[in-house]
């Protein structure tokens, strides 16, 4: 009832949060969306790893502060296993800047505060399921600023990499969170060409995925946070 994406099938979601009330709230909200299905819940990182392995969800909604294995630990463990990484959306109660940044660096594809509206949450889940990111450049730039990370003194890359004008355009849209298919439509290119541009951008920025590319681009002032 809330989106027009049902034609592309139901997105399967796992919910990992130690707070029962919060899990109930989010599940209750997502029950209202026809095209999102919560296939499993977990109360900590260890359980989360198990249900992800069993259910192979499209998107994982992940809390960061949990007992035993926390959200960061789960992300690191997923990356260490080398299996295809599910799209992970971090949900936080508070603006835990440092934790969120660590989660993004550990492979999360986006983050939201937990008291989202149904529309925001469903849109975010679909964007991640489509291969996009939800890094919210304006907020992330502030986050990098506050943590003192958005400075030119990162020793690993003394010279900002040379991107072609086309790659700049693509990077801007990647930073805005769009998946390749939508970038292709916007720039009137084929999906394959966009894919090649993205691969080249990742290579030049020295990062392994789109989220990292956005963070690096923000740090290097390669994209306008407000755009």
């Amino acid at each position: 009832m809330t989106t027009d994406r049902s034609s592309r099938g139901v997105v399967r979601v796992c919910l990992v949060d130690d707070q029962t009330l919060v899990r109930e709230g989010i599940r209750g909200l997502l029950d209202l969306a026809d095209d999102v299905e919560v296939v499993a819940e977990a109360t900590d990182g260890d359980e989360g790893l198990a249900v992800i392995a069993t259910h192979r969800p499209d998107v994982v909604l992940l809390d960061l502060r949990m007992p035993r294995l926390d959200g960061i630990g789960l992300l690191e463990e997923l990356a260490a296993r080398g299996a295809p990484m599910p799209a992970v959306l971090v949900l936080t109660t508070f603006n835990d800047d440092e934790l969120v940044l660590r989660a993004l660096r550990a492979g999360a594809r986006g983050y939201l505060l937990k008291d989202v509206t149904l529309e925001q949450l469903v849109a975010a889940i679909h964007r991640l399921a489509d291969g996009g990111t939800l890094v919210q450049p304006a907020i992330t730039a502030g986050l990098l600023e506050r943590l003192g990370s958005r400075t030119a003194d990162r020793p690993s890359l003394p010279v900002p990499p040379e991107l072609t004008p086309r790659e700049h355009d693509v990077l801007g849209l990647v930073a805005a969170g769009f998946p390749n298919r939508e970038i292709a439509e916007a720039l009137h290119l084929s999906a394959g060409t966009v894919k090649n541009h993205v691969s080249s951008i990742l290579l030049k920025l020295g990062v392994r995925d789109r989220t990292q590319a956005v963070l690096r681009a923000l740090e290097l002032d390669l994209v306008d946070p407000s755009g």
Partner: protein, 401 residues
């Protein structure tokens, strides 16, 4: 100070004894030159031999008077003096000044072998002097006894006088030692007091920080999660359509979101800005030291870390440095600078204390180093005897995992 005076007086007494002894020979020399020495001395050769032995031993042991230990060598010296002195008396019963030698022996004995042995020696000398006079033809027993008692009394007087002086000296020395101990105890007490105040202040800062973090955690854990859940439930309720109540649900949802926003602000302030403001105040607190040491603190506010971990580390470095300076350095001045270094922060500490050629890091310095290294920083120290102590702790910028 008192010890040196006593020693000097003792030496003067010894030289006075030597002078008096030498004076004894003057009338004898005059008599020799005049050719009538036999009127004074029964045997000039015997007298001179005994006299010179006496003088030689006396001069040789002049340093021994001031010693506090009685050695066998000194006992022998006193014995030789007693024997040679009495032989000199025996060789010259007609020359009364010869008795000066036993008197000097009694005086020296009090210094060298102690009060009681000197008294015994004196009594022995008095008896022997008496016997010498008894043996002299023409001297009655009554006169001989009088001679013995008179000279015995004179020698006893010398022994007692020396002992009274010695006891007074010892009492003064004891008093001086007590005074020194008292001064040291006082200094230790002052240092302990400073440390105690320092510990109290640290405790106050720590409990303030702990209390703030506890409130922040409670807000986060207890209220944050409930409000989030409430907000999500109201969001769902709004979408399900609650008929006439839809408006109320939506307003409730807005209120819940606002409340959560407020809680977020408070938690954020407690965690960050609070830590920042508190850090500046806590640093000033840490640098306020009772006692004679002056602390100069220079803080670049822009350099102060905003995250709790590094802020606490900076505070610990400063607190530990102040404590160390108070406890070990004996410094008059302590300079502390907290400044920016690249994206990080550096704490530089310098004092004008006594320093140390080989620094042995105690628990404080080791703990400080561990804390700094835990946040990726380094601690360098340098010190030399009399050259004060210098410490530089460098912390990197905020953590970038």
């Amino acid at each position: 100070m008192t010890t040196i005076d006593t020693d000097r007086l003792t030496q003067s007494t010894a030289w006075l004894g030597i002078g008096t002894t030498l004076a004894v020979a003057i009338p004898v020399v005059v008599a020799q030159l005049a050719g009538d020495v036999h009127e004074l001395l029964r045997s000039p050769v015997g007298w001179w031999t005994a006299y010179l032995v006496f003088v030689a031993v006396l001069v040789a042991d002049v340093r021994g008077w001031a010693g506090s230990q009685t050695t066998t060598g000194q006992r022998i010296v006193v014995a030789i003096m007693a024997v040679s002195g009495l032989v000199a008396v025996a060789m010259s019963p007609a020359y009364g000044f010869s008795v000066v030698l036993p008197i000097v022996t009694a005086t020296a004995a009090t210094f060298v072998i102690g009060f009681r042995p000197a008294l015994v020696l004196t009594a022995g000398q008095a008896v022997l002097i008496m016997l010498v006079y008894v043996a002299v033809p023409g001297v009655g027993v009554g006169d001989a006894v009088l001679q013995g008692v008179a000279w015995g009394g004179f020698m006893g007087f010398a022994v007692f006088t020396v002992e009274v002086g010695a006891r007074e000296g010892r009492a003064r020395e004891h008093l001086a030692v007590l005074n020194d101990e008292l001064a040291e105890t006082n200094a230790r007490l002052a240092r302990t007091n400073v440390e105690l105040e320092e510990a109290q202040r640290q405790l106050a800062v720590q409990s303030r920080t702990a209390e703030r973090l506890r409130i922040s955690r409670d807000l986060h854990d207890l209220i944050g999660h409930q409000l989030t859940a409430l907000s999500l439930q109201l969001e769902a309720a709004g979408h399900r359509g609650a008929g006439a109540a839809t408006d109320n649900v939506e307003r409730s949802r807005a209120i819940a979101r606002d409340l959560l926003g407020d809680v977020r602000d408070v938690v954020g302030r407690l965690r960050e800005d609070g830590a920042h403001d508190d850090l500046a105040a806590a640093l000033r607190d840490a640098a306020t030291v009772a006692g004679p040491m002056a602390v100069e603190l220079e803080v670049d506010d822009d350099a102060l870390p905003t995250d709790a971990e590094r802020a606490t580390t900076v505070l610990r470095v400063v607190q530990e440095s102040v404590t160390n300076a108070v406890r070990h350095a004996d410094a008059r001045n302590l300079w502390i600078r907290v400044g920016e270094a690249g994206s990080g922060v550096v704490v530089e500490v310098r004092d004008d204390g006594r320093g140390s050629p080989d620094l042995v890091p105690g628990h404080g310095l080791t703990g400080m180093r561990e804390r700094v290294e835990a946040v990726g920083g380094t601690v360098e120290t340098s010190t030399s005897a009399g050259g004060g102590f210098h410490l530089r702790a460098s912390l990197p910028g905020p953590a970038r995992p």
